[in-house]
């Protein structure tokens, strides 16, 4: 069935803002449930033939990401300071196109573990943080994790990790072929008594749901997939939503305000089209899936007489508790060639240090992976710790590209109230809309956890027989692509923005579902959970609509 094209003035059942990891799921599920859905996406629509192996374009010239000239942001690490525009690029980075960041993600698709949802109850409070339990459990989310794996497409090996949380189904596809980095990591980790296992990846290892298996070109992280093997919304949920005949995805449509009426209900959204002409789209309900940066900004920019602090912000928590995921890694060089520039980023990971351990003296945990690192430019620019930066040693490292790999720790970031997305008092974007101001300073435990896990990665590379290992230090985070926690979920309207079904506490027909809903950061790979939450939210929203409860 051809995609639906709505006429100007048509009211829709749902307007979904954003077409990324969660927006795609929301569009698919709500249109499959029989509702009319209009997805407004600020960026353009690309196809597989538009993507290139061009590191300069994608990583330095904002090929598909938010442009710091058109959509600038400011940053500060001290809530008392005046935020400034970063010298190079924005703090909060996302792919600005149909498919959103699911287009350029690495596709690491770990599930959260049971502990992630009730860790506060187990460990107790942490002074100076907003560390709390989620209002839902792993058990409630589990069927939706399985749904992501089967309906979006994840490759992996069920029950391979002894630390894996319970699962109702195996993966639909076997793991991707192991790379040399994975073999070395597995060998080193097993020698140390650890439990490495095949990495779950949202990349087809074989033909699945109408899409081919991976061609192993090596350009996943930061790039769009040229063969449609990466399970991006662009290739999965979005076309399936359109195929219902009830969904239109409208690119080049930049939503800048959610409108509400005197009753405090959302009436629709105001947006600019590609020619900067303003439009209003009427909808029975509004679903924001604009990511952890833009969803919060949109609410704060939608203030009104009834909602003077910003829409859905009676609690005052919109934009607060921004989390990124800390991390650090080691670079290792071996005797023979690994050729890590081929194929996917990651083929082996381990979760032995996933849980926090009070004996360490600080909160936190994470996973460690074996990865290729970056393609040539990113590889050469890696710095920090004792990595050589120029001269003969630097050249040696460059010449050892084919014999090298990276092992990276992906860790917790604590929810801290002052870490936030807010509205910059003066800066506006190219459309005249107030810009994002980011305030962020890592909690000391986040840095300690990253260092601890980095040292475990170092041990693994040594045990694997590396000829040379370089450590990098955890860097204070000044930005991220993991945009989490700015509209946190909770049962108490006084301390959270959405309820356990992603409905805004303050606005009955407004739903927020993306990284902003996160209560804790997990251990580093959020998209799997963003999509599981979206499947669950869409399920409930569809039922609410059916029962006329929106």
């Amino acid at each position: 069935m051809p995609a639906r094209i709505f006429k100007p003035g048509d009211a829709v059942d749902f307007v979904v803002v954003g077409s990324g990891a969660s927006g795609g799921v929301m569009a698919r599920e709500l249109s499959l449930a029989g509702y009319t859905v209009l997805v407004l996406e600020q960026g353009p629509r690309f196809g597989p033939g538009d993507f290139e192996h061009d590191e300069l374009k994608y990583n330095f010239l904002n090929g598909i990401t938010n442009d710091p000239v058109l959509s600038p942001q400011t940053f500060r690490d001290d809530p008392g300071a005046t935020a400034k525009q970063p010298r190079m690029g924005n703090s909060l980075i996302y792919a600005r196109m149909v498919g959103g960041s699911s287009t350029h993600f690495t596709a690491n698709f770990w599930r959260f573990h049971e502990i992630d949802f009730h860790e506060r109850s187990v460990l107790g409070s942490i002074t100076g943080t907003g560390f709390v339990d989620w209002p839902i459990s792993y058990r409630e989310l589990e069927p939706y994790y399985a749904k992501v794996e089967w309906e979006v497409g994840v490759s992996g090996l069920a029950h391979a990790s002894p630390f894996d949380p319970p699962r109702s189904k195996a993966y639909p596809m076997p793991p991707l072929p192991v790379k040399s980095s994975g073999v070395l990591f597995e060998s080193g980790a097993r020698k140390l008594g650890l439990h490495p296992f095949p990495a779950p990846m949202a990349i087809n290892s074989q033909f699945y749901r109408g899409r081919p298996g991976c061609a192993h070109c090596g350009f996943c992280i930061g790039f769009g997939c040229e063969v449609m093997a990466k399970s991006s919304s662009l290739y999965t949920t979005i076309p399936e939503a359109e195929a219902t005949g009830r969904c239109e995805v409208r690119p080049g449509s930049y939503v800048f305000r959610v409108e509400t009426n005197a009753l405090g209900r959302a009436t629709g959204v105001a947006y600019f089209d590609g020619e900067k002409r303003e439009h209003f789209q009427k909808a029975r309900a509004v679903v924001l899936c604009a990511n952890g940066a833009e969803t919060a900004r949109l609410l704060l920019n939608s203030s009104s007489a009834r909602f003077p602090q910003g829409l859905a912000n009676t609690s005052g928590t919109v934009g607060k508790y921004l989390m990124f995921n800390q991390g650090a890694g080691v670079h290792a060089m071996f005797e023979h060639e690994l050729n890590e520039y081929k194929s996917v980023q990651v083929t082996r990971i381990l979760h032995d240090f996933y849980d926090a351990d009070p004996k360490r003296g600080f909160y936190g945990g994470g996973g460690i992976d074996a990865r290729m690192g970056s393609q040539p430019i990113g590889w050469a620019l890696a710095s920090g710790g004792d990595l050589p930066r120029w001269g003969a040693d630097f050249k040696d490292r460059l010449e050892g590209f084919r014999r090298s790999m990276v092992s990276t720790a992906h860790c917790t970031s604590l929810a801290v109230e002052s870490n936030s997305v807010s509205i910059d008092p003066t800066l506006k974007d190219a459309w005249g809309i107030p810009a994002i101001r980011v305030t962020y300073k890592d909690h000391p435990d986040d840095l300690a956890t990253a260092s601890f896990l980095r040292d475990r990665a170092y041990d693994i590379m040594q045990a694997a027989g590396a000829k040379r290992v370089w450590k990098t230090d955890p860097q204070p985070r000044r930005g991220s692509v993991h945009l989490l926690g700015t509209c946190r979920m909770g049962d108490d309207p006084a301390s959270s923005v959405v309820d356990k079904f992603h409905r805004a506490h303050d606005v009955p027909n407004l739903f927020l579902c993306d990284g902003s809903s996160f209560v804790t950061s997990g251990r580093g790979q959020p998209t799997m959970t963003i999509q599981a939450l979206a499947f669950r939210a869409a399920d409930h929203i569809g039922q609410f609509a059916k029962r006329n409860e929106i």
């Binding site: 023979h336 032995d352 003969a392 084919r402």
Partner: protein, 211 residues
Amino acid sequence: MHDTEDLEGTSRRSFLLSTGGLFTTAWLGTQWAAITAAAHHAEDMAAADLAAAPTWKGFQFLSESESKDVDAIAGQIVPSGRTPGAREAHAVYFIDRAMSTFFAAWSAEFRAGLAEFQAKFHALHPDVSSFAAAGSETQIAFLKSVDRTPFFETARLLTVLGMFSSPKYGGNTAGIGWKMMGFEDRHAFTPPFGHYDANYLGFVPYPEKPA
């Protein structure tokens, strides 16, 4: 000599064509044109990048003395030797092009930083006409004293970009930066990818959950 051999001539298109069951769903049928177009596009990518390398028409942004110093700085960041360095890759051509086009917003700051670099070098070595004219040991010693400055960081970034960006941006002449690293810009590879995965025996499950 590489440890593994990819299937020479395996194009992404033939890879896709050999993938079983491609036409088994109606949906893919509608996508086939897009995927094959992408495959053709990617097949030509590396060759197209090399062919698209701009013809050098002289410096547009850097003066002659600036270009010599920038070339010398780049040449110390990635030195020549057994394999080509930044000089052979013409990173300075890339830098000139970047400053006059896509990184023009940085150009005033870069020029000011370079002037400060030159002034500082001259103050320390008044008897040497320029950084470029100094001996390698003098250059290295001086760079060690300034290698945490914003100008050096920018020079390092630009040198790396000039060595490893697509040749279509003006550096990485004939792809020699990629060759030096051993990177191949291909649209498809097949396993095994390297020495260590060639003989992998398979994942052995763990007997039980650890304590």
